[in-house]
């Protein structure tokens, strides 16, 4: 049985932990709103870009001399997995779910006889992936230096990945990132990044579109931008997912701390009463003996 002083100390320590988790929860809730708004604001650009890509791709599709980013290297031996993790912890199972998905994909690819390398964005994916694939990590991209990763970071990542592709370091790239569904559910999703999957052709009836410069040149310029937008979208989703997961995890932690405090308080009161009772018995027994 712990002494009264020890119990008091534990109660106080749990109380201060609860204060921290509560504060973190409220911060996450506020940031979540912002992150969600940012993710929504980015949608028009992405959908417009996809539309334009669709109409262009349908024109260039089927040609063998299309841009490299679209037709790929012609092989699919070497795969690159771009895994987007968060930089900070305290967000429940989010990062371990992402890592789990990445490892699942990697194992499936390796079972099919392909080689896998990783491009890691965010700090929290590094250690767990390095443990299983110590030699397969091509690059780490640090997003923790800026407060909210924006389009500049996304284009830096996309530039590096495209440079690696053009240098012939891999054939196919997939992007593994969380998709924010709600504060309770953020599922990691794998999408193909390179070669850029040909979007469903939108058939614009009749209208002949003029291009300046040519279709091929526009497409050439568009594809890297498309990759960037994909990465940017992933970063925004990550931000929202992180805050959502953090909010839920901290809410649970706060509630657990509350339960624990209650239990400890009951225990504390019981032992205090027991101590008083023993003292009383001693006094009464002493009085009776006289």
């Amino acid at each position: 049985m712990a002494s009264l002083k020890e119990l008091k100390g534990r109660i106080n320590s749990v109380k201060s932990t609860q204060k921290i988790t509560k504060a973190k929860q409220m911060v996450a809730a506020a940031k979540l709103r912002k992150a969600q708004a940012a993710a929504e604001a980015a949608r028009p650009y992405a959908s417009r870009l996809a539309e334009v890509m669709g109409s262009l791709a349908s024109k260039v599709a089927g040609q063998d001399n299309g841009p490299l980013l679209m037709r790929g290297t012609g092989s699919d031996k070497r795969h690159l997995l771009v895994v987007v993790n968060t930089d900070k912890g305290l967000c429940g199972g989010l990062n371990s779910n992402i890592v789990k998905e990445a490892k699942l994909q990697a194992r499936a690819l390796e079972a099919a006889g392909k080689t896998v390398t990783f491009y890691l964005v965010g700090k929290k994916g590094r250690a767990p992936i390095k443990r299983d694939y110590p030699n397969a990590i091509a690059e780490n991209f640090d997003t923790s230096t800026v407060r909210t990763p924006g389009f500049d970071e996304a284009s830096a990542i996309a530039r590096e990945v495209i440079a690696m592709f053009e240098a012939g370091k891999f054939d196919v790239a997939h992007l593994i990132a969380p998709v924010f569904k709600s504060a309770l559910a953020q599922d990691p999703v794998t999408t193909q990044l390179i070669p850029v999957p040909a979007p469903a052709a939108t058939s614009e009836a009749g209208a002949v579109v003029e291009y300046e410069p040519s279709e091929e040149e526009i497409l050439e310029e568009l594809l890297p931008r498309y990759v960037t937008t994909k990465v940017f979208g992933a970063l925004l989703e990550r931000e929202a997912s992180e805050q959502g997961a953090s909010m839920t995890a901290m809410d649970n932690a706060t509630r657990n701390a509350g339960d624990l405090i209650q239990k400890l308080t009951i225990q504390y009161n019981r032992s205090r009463q027991a101590a008083i009772t023993t003292e009383l018995i001693e006094i009464i027994a002493g009085a009776e003996a006289l």
Binding site: Y45, A46, F151, V209, E212, P213, F232
Partner: protein, 84 residues
């Protein structure tokens, strides 16, 4: 009136009805009025001039990188960066 939209990755900057927009295309500036034929062009760094009505002084918006698309819905400019 021409429906003009200016979109960046971060947000929808403009969505409004205007008279004419002059866009700095890679192969030269071009103006877009209502009923322009379907057209697509890359945009070089420079400023887009927005004419609210015929003969009014244009409002200039500096943009960096991107492309412009003219379709049945009007003009859409997708720019990487917009100043201001």
């Amino acid at each position: 009136m021409l429906h003009f939209e200016l979109v960046t990755p971060a947000r929808l900057v403009r969505s409004e009805e205007v008279h004419m927009v002059v866009v700095p295309g890679t192969d030269g500036e071009f103006g877009v009025l209502e009923g322009h034929a379907p057209f697509m062009s890359t945009v070089k760094d420079g400023s887009i001039k927005v004419y609210k009505s015929a003969g009014s002084t244009p409002e200039e918006i500096k943009v960096q990188g991107g492309f412009a698309e003219v379709g049945v819905n009007g003009l859409t400019v997708l720019a990487e960066h917009v100043e201001g």
